[in-house]
Symmetry: C4
Subunit: 255 residues, 4 copies
């Protein structure tokens, strides 16, 4: 458990690093991640240190730390990576550059880099996303459990589906009569080991903006915070609806 109160740095180099996260702009990524995490906590998405989020802006990637109370994160708790790190080898476990060993521009003392880091980076590199959200939503987990061993969660003819874009580079959102398909990958013992499966899944489902992780949660990304967050909300709404439908004996699709 990191000591959140002690994460600010102390030396001259530290001061330079602190400048990366200190800003009066509420939409600066270091501030924005803090308000998002507090909001996600209230939504039940990052309970008990679970989940996290990352924003890329220009040549930098900002990341919430590991294992801390997400609703209490401060800008000085934020890790910063250069965007060129997206070229690092992270998916192949044999050749992986660990998130512990990446060339952080800023690395708060007493805090640990998040094991979600390579997964956030994968969404940035493969989808040109600039924000990625990882939740431990109960509705997402229950939806994966209700899918049994199926590799995709599917639902159709629900208006909220129109909150999900058709696909990267495609114009507009899914229509009411389109079937929403969210792929599911199996969980691994270590979060970072999900990276290769996330990458494969993104290739198999080139249009998806989200990947469910069975018995674990979901990764959702977008071109910006607003897109990632609203997709994540729409999906969570649909997962909750799907769980309630199952209790009431209502089918998810017209089969």
């Amino acid at each position: 458990m990191a000591t959140q109160e002690q994460s600010a740095n102390g030396t001259k180099a530290d001061a330079d690093a602190d400048a990366l996260v200190l800003s009066n702009d509420p939409f600066h990524p270091a501030n924005h991640i803090c308000t998002l995490c507090a909001h996600f906590y209230n939504l039940g998405w990052v309970t008990g240190t679970g989940g996290g989020t990352s924003i890329r802006r220009g040549d930098k990637i900002y990341l919430a730390p590991s294992g801390v109370q997400k609703e209490l994160i401060k800008p000085t708790d934020i890790f910063v990576l250069p965007s060129e790190c997206l070229n690092l080898q992270i998916a192949d476990p044999a050749k992986r550059v660990s998130h512990h060993d990446m060339p952080y521009l800023r690395r708060p003392k007493n805090l640990t880099p998040s094991a979600c880091t390579p997964l956030f980076m994968t969404s940035f590199r493969k989808r040109d996303a600039n924000c990625c959200i990882h939740t431990h939503s109960e509705w997402a987990v229950l939806a994966t459990l209700l899918c049994g061993s199926a590799k995709v969660f599917e639902i159709e003819e629900i208006e909220q589906i129109k909150g999900i874009p058709k696909g990267p580079g495609k114009d507009g959102n899914l229509g009411y009569f389109d079937r929403l398909r969210v792929p599911i990958i199996e969980n691994t013992a270590k979060e970072e080991d999900l990276t290769q499966y996330l990458e494969q899944c993104m290739e198999e489902f080139p249009d998806t903006f989200a990947v469910l992780v069975r018995r674990h949660g979901i990764y959702v990304w977008g071109k910006d915070v607003a897109q990632a967050k609203t997709i994540c909300e729409s999906l969570d709404w649909l997962f909750k609806l799907a769980v309630e439908m199952k209790k009431l004996g209502l089918p998810w699709t017209k089969q």
Copy 2:
């Protein structure tokens, strides 16, 4: 996805248009829509850009924009229409004046008019309403699903029914022994195509203050914000109760 940060206008004409939405009065429609949307977000009614609301005051109609985070709307994001637009042809798809082409007095740059616009206008024109709320409440959607193909949601002998007025021009609210009947129309691919069915439904159910849209949500209106909001709350309470009753094997009506 619109850029909410860039919606304020810039020219002289823009400044005139901005004056339509800038006020220190918290109950000015442009301010009121913002606080209502933030409140509705917390109630789960406008998750992930879904839903919306509109207020008419005197000769103007104020509208929340399309496809944005409703809890973050600012007064400068509000569209304004002259009330005389209520005479426009909007129900008939063949002759419809699109919500994209209406003579807005104020049209925020980078934002899109809501496809709910013709539906809000229908409630204003046909019911002389001054506020209309559209939610994507999960309870409303589940209630429509539990009704199967029935055209009306019905419940009786629940005290909260007394929160619903008897009908436009009728004195007082429904009684405890009155059966509440909320009509349901089928969803369409495009939101604006609901307009003709909403209009027909209002004629068929001249006393109703709300129309459910199957697998989608609900439209609720009233003579003012307080009436529309409290009817919407009472109905949502009843839909949630109805869903829980179904799980517990309790009938909605005495048959």
Copy 3:
């Protein structure tokens, strides 16, 4: 629907009446009712103008108005009655002094006295209570529905039962092995007509601090706000638990 914005009075006599509800003390009943109602709204107890609350202090009774958004009540919306009104004939429908005709010390213009008034007064007179809360909690309503035609809700061996006092004039609270019994009366078309049944029920159940109203909600009282509120919370917690237990096939009592 009352106009909450217009409820403040204007004449000299009005100013005297206003002095009854204007205070810098947050625990003055006129202020306290406002904060309580906003809190109860967030708990789902007074949705859509339903429910209400009343406090007696010394020779005065303070009451929330009828048919308004409870979370937006202001001190100037509060009705004030002299405590000597507790001697009025209110239970017998044939001889009843209507809540519309009581000698209010303060009666906000454009607002309507609450039909809960005689029920609040009954708890003050018969139990020497000083605060009474009426909720439309969904859990209370579902609990009454799950009781079928039974006249009492019963649950036992749940720690939270210890939040309920043994009875007026009795020392201490119920024990873990005591069975909690909350009586249920049938609903009537008009709220004020419940008064005689509430009164009879209080006589039949001399130890109870609450009476459920089938398909409607609950009335809970206490010697002060803290007691009434904490009993109401404990009961609501138990009703929700009972509903969940029923879904899971768990019995409320040991056979």
Copy 4:
């Protein structure tokens, strides 16, 4: 019911005692307990005066009082004990030093010491914990009910399990493939009588950071507030998931 408004002391000795709980540091235990209790109230953990929390810092133990509205606690409502009290005989009912008779350094007038005190102290003494949280969470209670007469709640292969440490003195947290086992003790008529069973249970389950109390709630502890709170949140998340899984016919463990 204690009078929270009257808990501040008045004499010189009282002033010295007040100094123990007055601080500008939001993380001073007397302040921290207040913000935690308000937060736990919003989580549904301390409804209607139920539940509580305690923090040990250095040679002092700070405790929330009994039977008050936990969300309204003020620093002057806090009891203070010397840490050397951890050597008092508290488990054996025959020799027990009652929580009423302990040598409090500060004892607010009109308030009653919590019957949870010996249980909090047991976690401090036997586990070297510095924070202990007691909740009446509905999910914890339902989980114990769904376990029937089983002495342990068990669940496996859910990512959130990784929020629970392996055990005192052990490095790191449980893994995804580890089975989480939370022991359950039976409830007693008096809270303080749980002490001996809590103590026995801690010996029988040397790795556990929490003990469920059937039909009652849970005790959770940690080396600091952050650890106790995040474990408590992770467990509550898991109990809620487990209840939902049971409704949906999903097993908690493999086979």
